[in-house]
Symmetry: C2
């Protein structure tokens, strides 16, 4: 390893995280997949995530909603229907029990709306100064229907890329809440469970592969997806749904929304289907769904076709400027 | 809730933890079982735990070994064969990558020896001062064989209580390592995976119910087991396997080994079977296995028959003096 100690960038979801995962975890555990969810039987998948978002409460969500919807989404991206969730809590001494209750209620509400049951948990308490309020780890399991198993290997030249809405909303909401930018109205996180949207997508189009657009953002995740393949991706700047307010904050702070985390957004690789966008737009979380690009053999890697027609490469960045975004 | 803020006792596994779990978590999530593992299909169970042990390395183990064997044990206590594990890491900025590698190798070694596969993980990094080196959450799944499903409802008057060895070893090892008591030789934690022992027990006796003797120790856990039943338990002081060195430290510090955490010990409720102890003792983790008491209708609650023949009640304590024991 290039570093001797863990730095914040190791948790960013960008290049440094990949290096740590491949050199320390994947090698020792002999894990050779990069999917968010993993099969535990013919019909069942599992996925786990820890949540350390700061602040704990933000416009559009809180760590409870995030910890449930984030893991539901990881399970859903495999094509499975998430069914059960378990949760582990690491709470800092002195944390307000009323805040804990708010978070736990938010978890339950999110789970119920998504049709998922929280069935077990564990609680640990650490001394003041050894945590930051609360950290939550959730693990979800889901059931695969016949033919629903998605795989990066199914992606082909000509497949379209679809996203379910505007990019960068979660990260900008967190930045605003954390740095007290006092934007008015405050930008809202897109944090939400996508499992029902995914089931609708599977019914209305040939979906090859899905990924949720969390840490690292669209650009990092597209690079991951085609990392070991021969194809390239070109997305079109003019097709990207990005809120004006998000663009404005990004311009101000020198951030690129294509590298910002979302918590209720996915990218789908699909064979073209006119019905798909219509079906997606019936869901609250996909009102701004759009086809944003396609898989091609004209390039290797991920490129943005800018509004003036040039191709700009979108590489994996080594680190991400935003720690603890989720 | 009696408290407005979380105190360390809420994580002790004793009475305060129960109160928090029942009033905040179980009520909101509508969970009405107290088992460590939970069914997710006819043949599959799941269990989750977060590990915050301090120090990270101790004689007999480390947080890696503990986080794998602890969750394996929770799954195994249901009667299931643990098969897969997923892990979430919350790492503090500045943590030595060499220490992380040691922990990850220890996890893999423990999993391999137990015949369990670590299949996925997640890594988050928090700023210096917002964690304590590393916290690990693990979730395990296991497969139930025919007729292996254990249940507290199967416990009957006359059932014997069996433990697989000496009590209090883990807690005393942690106390010694943490408080630098400099005992020589240093007491060793009993931290280990019990799944193979459990499978052997299921084959050689009628096992009704199993629990691992973690936070809260034997006394707390026996109270939990019979909480909603009409029967009582009497254990015999003279039958309890306790190391002399552990007794000595407990005497010195005013601790009771019956309330101390173990990380490689279980209590089984079994119909008497002479073969059972012989079969258990073939396993390294059960050389000192012993029958320690029985289920009775002569008392309600949990009692210790002392060496002088009197009955001493063993209630649930409200808090435990040892935070972050696991």
């Amino acid at each position: 390893m290039e570093h001797k100690k863990i730095i914040l960038g190791h948790g960013s979801g960008a290049g440094l995280t990949h290096k740590l995962i491949s050199e320390v975890f994947a090698q020792t555990f002999k894990i050779n997949h990069l999917d968010d969810a993993c099969k535990i039987s013919d019909k069942m998948v599992i996925s786990t995530d820890s949540y350390v978002v700061n602040p704990l409460f933000f416009p559009g969500g809180d760590i409870g909603k995030l910890s449930v919807s984030g893991t539901i989404n990881d399970v859903a991206m495999s094509g499975a229907r998430p069914t059960f969730l378990v949760a582990g809590f690491i709470i800092e001494e002195g944390f307000e029990i009323s805040a804990l209750q708010k978070i736990v209620c938010s978890m339950q509400k999110t789970a119920q709306q998504a049709g998922v049951q929280i069935i077990a948990g564990d609680t640990k308490v650490v001394e003041k100064g050894k945590g930051d309020g609360i950290y939550i780890s959730t693990t979800g399991v889901g059931i695969l229907g016949d033919g629903d198993e998605l795989s990066v290997n199914r992606i082909q030249v000509g497949d379209k890329l679809v996203v379910n809405g505007t990019l960068g909303d979660h990260a900008v909401a967190i930045i605003n809440a954390r740095d007290r930018l006092e934007l008015d109205p405050p930008p809202m996180s897109d944090c939400c469970a996508l499992n029902n949207l995914v089931q609708a997508m599977l019914k209305s189009a040939e979906v090859k592969f899905l990924r949720d657009l969390t840490r690292g953002g669209l650009a990092t995740i597209l690079n991951e997806v085609i990392e070991n393949s021969d194809v390239g991706i070109i997305i079109s700047e003019e097709l990207l749904p990005i809120k004006q307010s998000v663009s404005a904050v990004c311009g101000l702070l020198g951030l690129d929304p294509l590298y910002l985390a979302n918590e209720g957004k996915l990218v789908g690789f699909v064979s073209e289907d006119e019905r798909l966008l219509d079906e997606m737009k019936k869901h609250n979380c996909a009102r701004d769904a759009a086809i944003i690009g396609e898989v091609t053999d004209e390039v290797k890697g991920v490129y943005l076709r800018t509004t003036v027609g040039s191709l700009r490469p979108l590489p994996i960045l080594n680190s991400d400027p935003l720690p603890r975004i989720c």
